[in-house]
């Protein structure tokens, strides 16, 4: 489904159902150098269990026109503009990694429009090491290989994603290469710098009024669970821990769905 947002075309996957009027809506926001396809199982599940679904491609990612936006705050405004364009008054927000910071900022900026906040594979601050930032700048292919290895806790996650027979490391790497090759500059470095630069997390968390939930991977090497204590405290968030690395929706799709259902009931 395509919308006109801030003068440019924005794409959102609707979970395999036609976009229609409805009361309840879930918006899924992907992480760095990803697109909506990291959410398709969850998006399909909610789309067929009473919700309207928008799994967005951020500007300059996937099917949404660029350029990419320069900060978490700008991306939060873009999400709100997307809700306006789609005619959504209020929605649950689910974000992964960089997307979780965007969801947090949206919930802070427009408390009345966010019914619930789910932050998956998150941390605050989401600092990125200079070594990884420099590698992303100088050798994006090497950085993609590093992040692929960092993001997965094993080489035999079942039942795999989007289904049996899929090799998660290959899928993660291919998706990052695809997004990087779109041609909007060095998107990898851009996205990582957006994460690294975000400094408003605790102030935003203090303004959040809706129920908040964190879903964390117990073996997450990118955003370690221990890096969420202060954020969880300020948000008064429930915390669900899933046996997974950073690629939670891929490594543990059933466990993430179960945790999501606690946060956003069908």
């Amino acid at each position: 489904m395509k919308f006109e947002v801030q003068g440019r075309t924005a794409y959102a996957y609707t979970g395999g159902k036609a976009w229609a009027d409805g009361e309840r809506c879930v918006v899924f926001i992907h992480g760095a150098l990803n697109d909506h396809s990291v959410w398709t199982l969850l998006a399909r599940w909610y789309a067929h269990h009473g919700y309207r679904v928008l799994a967005v491609d951020q500007p300059g990612h996937g099917r949404s026109d660029g350029p990419p936006l320069a900060s978490v705050e700008a991306l939060a405004d873009w999400v709100l503009a997307l809700l306006d364009a789609a005619g959504v008054a209020s929605a649950h927000l689910a974000g992964h990694s960089m997307g979780s910071l965007i969801a947090l900022e949206v919930a802070a900026r427009a408390p009345t429009r966010v019914a619930g906040l789910v932050m998956v594979g998150t941390a605050y601050p989401m600092k990125v090491s200079d070594a990884l930032l420099n590698t992303a700048r100088d050798d994006p292919a090497r950085a993609i290989a590093m992040v692929t290895a960092f993001s997965h806790s094993g080489i035999a996650s079942k039942p795999s994603y989007p289904g049996p027979g899929a090799w998660l490391h290959g899928g993660s790497s291919a998706l990052m290469h695809r997004i990087q090759d779109i041609g909007a500059g060095n998107l990898f470095e851009h996205d990582f710098r957006v994460c690294d630069a975000y400094a408003n997390g605790l102030e935003a968390a203090a303004r959040v009024q809706c129920p908040a939930h964190l879903i964390l991977g117990t073996r997450d090497a990118m955003t370690p669970a221990k890096a969420t204590k202060e954020l969880a405290s300020v948000l008064r968030a429930t915390v669900a821990r899933v046996a997974s690395g950073h690629a939670l929706m891929q490594e543990a799709p059933d466990a993430v769905l179960n945790a999501m259902r606690q946060a956003i009931p069908a």
Binding site: Y13, G16, D35, S37, T40, L41, R44, W45, H48, G62, A131, L132, N134, T135, R142, A145, M146, T148, A149, F150, G154, I155, A156, K158, P159, S160, Y161, P162, G163, P164, G165, A166, W167, H169, G170, G171, A174, L175, H177, R178, P253, D254, L257
Partner: protein
């Protein structure tokens, strides 16, 4: 900078896709010989059918043992996933049928396994899919053969029967310029010798019957997707980028940005054509893959010794092995196949068909049969078997002489193989009338 990387090839050969069984603790991959899998609830069943959850429903579509095999081959090839099939031929058919239908066109190398040639030249033509064959070294020929309805370029990493080395970087560039994927049959090379995706290929398949299994016990195939080809951008593939009435108007490229091809291949191809792999077969091939790096190293080492022996023998007119300077693809092989050119090759015996027959019949250690890639050494004389209906002129057109012998070098002691060949060459010499 140094940093984390995925495990190496040898580690992936043993572990990718497999972990100790969470229920029983079994360390080796169990064989899940079951047709179907119990649903937890009606809601669970519906969500599996509707692709809201990942999981197994029915073993024609997926099976836990088969999935380990699929994920392992995908890992070794550097792909996003794989689909196991009943044979290598089924894998080729699945690749074509997923993206092509009546009115479509394929450009294929002329140097193909006979079964692949039959499928393309005769059987698919009956269903309205036309193929243009080009000589694999004719780079301009590949480009010139592409039409507006071309859906696929296809070749073998090492072509039949002369081991033509497919110039994957150049052929894939031609394919991509036209918005078409390149499919490579990598059976002779296996990912240990060459990973076609790193060279630009988009899809790979294997007859897993051969080196992946290595034991000559089962028939199977596997189709792997790199996830790199942009089906949307090409504009030639509504099969993947437009609503599919056969699955609730699903648009596969929206469902999975990098796995659209495999989604349709599984959701349509396995569902409707049904050429799936038995979990028992998958398990047997997994046993082979665990030792693939060790076996391929030995296959190549033995082949080099046998090639050197034959190339120096007065009864041998020529040996078609790309590591020899006499092979037309020698330079290309050094670039694209630095670890070696496998262990299947042909050589030309001086003399008549009768001498070729005498050679074959004198062999003791080599098994005379129609297969390759076994751990045991194999031999066949095309002029008296697979191509026996052809006269000498027709054989020559196919690149086969009356004395052409194809060998598949196994894992025996190389000295024993050479001794067997020496005896047989003497027998062939004596058979000269």
């Amino acid at each position: 900078m140094p940093g984390p990387s995925d495990p190496g090839f040898d580690t992936l050969s043993l572990h990718a896709g497999a972990a100790p069984d969470p229920t029983t603790g079994a360390r080796a991959t169990p064989i899940h010989l079951t047709t179907s899998f119990v649903f937890e609830s009606s809601e669970h069943a519906a969500s599996l059918f509707n692709m809201e959850r990942a999981g197994h429903v029915y073993s024609r579509i997926s099976n836990p043992t088969t999935a380990v095999f699929e994920e392992r081959v995908a890992a070794l090839e550097g792909g996003v996933g794989a689909i196991a099939t009943a044979s290598g031929q089924a894998a080729l058919h699945l690749a074509v049928a997923t993206i092509a239908g009546a009115g479509a066109h394929i450009v294929a190398s002329a140097a193909l396994y006979g079964g692949s040639h039959n499928l393309l030249a005769y059987t698919l033509a009956r269903f309205g899919i036309e193929t243009t064959f080009v000589k694999p070294r004719d780079i301009d020929g590949w480009r010139a053969a592409i039409r507006p309805n071309t859906k696929l370029l296809f070749g073998e990493s090492l072509g039949n029967p002369g081991l033509d080395v497919l110039d994957i970087p150049r052929v894939s560039a031609i394919a991509h310029d036209a918005g078409v994927p390149l499919l490579v049959d990598a059976t002779f090379t296996t990912p240990w010798l060459q990973q076609p995706f790193k060279l630009g290929a988009d899809l790979v398949f294997h007859s897993a019957t051969k080196f992946l299994s290595g034991h000559g016990t089962v028939v199977g195939g596997v189709l792997v997707d790199s996830g790199r080809f942009d089906w949307d951008r090409s504009g030639r593939f509504p099969e993947l980028s437009a609503p599919y009435a056969g699955f609730h108007d699903m648009v596969f490229t929206e469902e999975s940005t990098v796995g659209a091809f495999l989604l349709r291949a599984r959701r349509e191809g396995l569902r409707d054509f049904g050429a799936c792999m038995s979990p028992h077969t998958a398990w047997l091939i997994l046993q082979g893959i665990e030792t693939l790096p060790l076996r391929m190293e030995r296959h190549v080492a033995n082949a080099r010794k046998v090639v050197a022996y034959l190339a120096a023998h007065p009864m041998v007119a020529q040996v078609g092995y790309p590591e020899l300077e006499s092979h037309p693809d020698h330079a290309l092989a050094k670039t694209l196949l630095p670890r070696g050119c496998g262990s299947v090759f042909s050589f030309d015996l001086r003399g008549s068909r009768a001498q070729g027959v005498a050679f074959i019949e004198a062999l003791q250690l080599f098994s005379h049969l129609a297969n390759v890639g076994d751990c045991r050494s194999l031999v066949i004389h095309p002029a008296s078997t697979t191509h026996f209906r052809m006269n000498d002129a027709a054989l020559a057109a196919a690149g086969i002489g009356p004395g052409t012998i194809r060998l598949s070098i196994g894992l025996e002691d190389a000295d024993d193989l050479i001794a067997d060949l020496k005896t047989a060459l003497k027998a062939a010499e004596r058979a000269a009338a």
